[in-house]
């Protein structure tokens, strides 16, 4: 609620405020707790974990899990490479396709825009389902074990297209008209006039799209068979579920299996897989909030 200045605070007011501060603070702590626990667990000594379990405050600070990961795990580097690749290619491709579509669908001189908008919209109402999609991807498009199996299904979203179209509504039509009079073609108008003006919308949609690719694991699990092509999150998931962590770590270095810090490595991998998001989050969350608020208003 908007604050009203210079008001006399009665008891009820103070009570509501106090409760608000308390509950929000508690929930914020609950939101942070698993992250903190994960990070501190990753710095634990393996013997201590096995003896006493994961703790919030380890009695001994150990970097062993990270050392192991950084020195031995080419598999982890490959997973990072795959994730960076699908994130960059997927986001760039998606932004290009979606911004063009949004641009066209907003053009009032484009007669069939409502028809095409409905064609896109209808897919959010009815879907063929997982199994027909799987058969299409594997049997007809031959995308099994291809990196494009992780890029294509998420490259374009109906919601993002409408978000972009709505952003473009704010750009005055007279700009297009004057550009047309100056002899610019449609693509030129899009590229030279529209794109520079639409950077905030591109940033919002691009961030959400990049985040989706960064967190991608599902299509990796469905379609990817070669461990070298696992995306980061799927690599992590396999590591958590697998008791034999060593299988996922480069076999080149001889390690005593008993000394392998299995439990702390799981948490260290999780930290490294989350890392970039946590580091970028303070800078990006402004865009996230803008995107959420705009997305909340009907796409």
């Amino acid at each position: 609620m908007v604050q009203i200045h210079n008001q006399k605070e009665d008891f009820g007011s103070i009570f509501i405020k106090a409760i608000s501060y308390f509950c929000i603070a508690c929930f914020a702590l609950a939101c942070l707790f698993p992250f903190v626990l994960m990070i501190s667990s990753s710095f634990m000594n393996e013997q201590e974990i096995i003896r006493e379990g994961y703790k919030l405050i380890p009695s001994e600070f150990s970097l062993k899990a990270y050392e192991m990961l950084i020195n031995n795990s080419t598999a982890l580097y490959k997973a990072y490479g795959v994730t960076i690749f699908i994130t960059v290619v997927g986001t760039a491709l998606g932004l290009f396709m979606m911004s063009m579509a949004g641009f066209v669908l907003n053009r009032k001189d484009f007669k069939y825009r409502n028809f095409f908008a409905f064609l896109i919209y209808f897919t959010t109402l009815f879907a063929g389902g997982l199994i027909p999609s799987y058969i299409l991807m594997v049997k007809y498009l031959h995308l099994k074990d291809s990196l494009f199996a992780m890029i294509l299904p998420g490259v374009v979203g109906a919601w993002s297209i409408f978000l972009m179209r709505n952003f473009m509504k704010a750009i005055p039509d007279s700009l297009y008209e004057s550009a047309t009079i100056d002899g610019a073609g449609d693509f030129m108008i899009y590229w030279r006039i529209f794109i520079p003006l639409a950077i905030p919308s591109l940033a919002t949609v691009g961030l959400f799209s990049a985040l989706g690719f960064w967190n991608e694991w599902y299509n990796g699990m469905l379609y990817i068979q070669t461990p070298d092509k696992y995306p980061l999150q799927y690599f992590l998931q396999r590591m958590i579920n697998q008791t034999n962590v060593q299988a996922l770590i480069n076999q080149g270095v001889v390690i005593d299996a008993g000394e392998l810090p299995t439990q702390s490595i799981k948490m260290a991998t999780a930290v490294l897989a989350t890392g970039p998001i946590i580091l970028l989050y303070p800078f990006l969350q402004r865009y996230f909030i803008t995107g959420l608020t705009i997305g909340a208003v009907k796409g």
């Binding site: 914020a28 066209v104 897919t123 109402l125 449609d186 909340a296």
Partner: protein, 314 residues
Amino acid sequence: MDVITKVKLHSGNIVQEVLKNKVLFLMLSPVILYFIIFHYLVMPGAYVAFVDYNISKGIFGSDFIGLKNFEFLIKNGDLWNITKNTFLYNFVFLALGNVIQIVFAIMLSEIAAKWFKKITQSVLLLPHFISMVIVGVFAYNLFNYNTGFINTMLTSLGLERYEFYSDPGIWVYIIVAFKIWSATGYGMIVYLATITGINHDLYEAAYMDGASRWQRIRYMTLPMLKPTFILLLLFGLGGILKGSFDLFYNLIGTNSVLYPHTDIIDTYVFRSLVGQFNFSMGAAVGFYQSLFGLLLVLTVNLIVRKIEPDSALF
């Protein structure tokens, strides 16, 4: 005669339009092609639910068996169990989730300290941006039998370890808790945006008239949030058979002990594909889910149009 001229004229228009705006058509075509291939070509594939799928024969070459797949699913009770689970989970997510989001949005709007507001808002939103795989790691970190944090606490208090991963009942609460944990920040901001949009003068006036803070919340803020709440609730109802596969799979995985209380439509379909290679059975469930989803959205949209014509989607 009439029809023929109409069609001719119409097609003439399309050709003319394409020629006139060929660049625009070209620019739109990647996205349209994408939707045709990845969405519209998939739709007839739902036919696989009505055949006895044989990989070498393909979808349309396999033997047609009609509704046998559905019959089997109903008879063995699977369909009922996963529908019930999906429905109940989503209903709780929706009802409890929205109430908590509203309460938190109001509480956050009552807070005066800007720094506190900013920090907590960011922190509450953080779980939304984490992959569900990481959430699965959190669950493992907290609940696993040998090294989990909760069991560490229990043993240090001199209590018995608890075997979370073999007790289906407790996962109902854990799943709901994680869902609320990850969704509250997001929903809260949607409601907060509505509250921020309320005219400040109204609150001033209410204050002048002697309304207490509680009265202003009760008689002003809450009613103003009602349309957003109803809209989100109704559209949530439209998707009530769509599961949060990400969440369930990463928390439960392939631990079949927990299925009675944690199996939802999406995890079932996934298993029929990956574990059992039972394409037709999985497709039957998927088709049932999609069809019901469509019918629900249409019904809900009809209701929205009655209550709030401006908010209806079509």
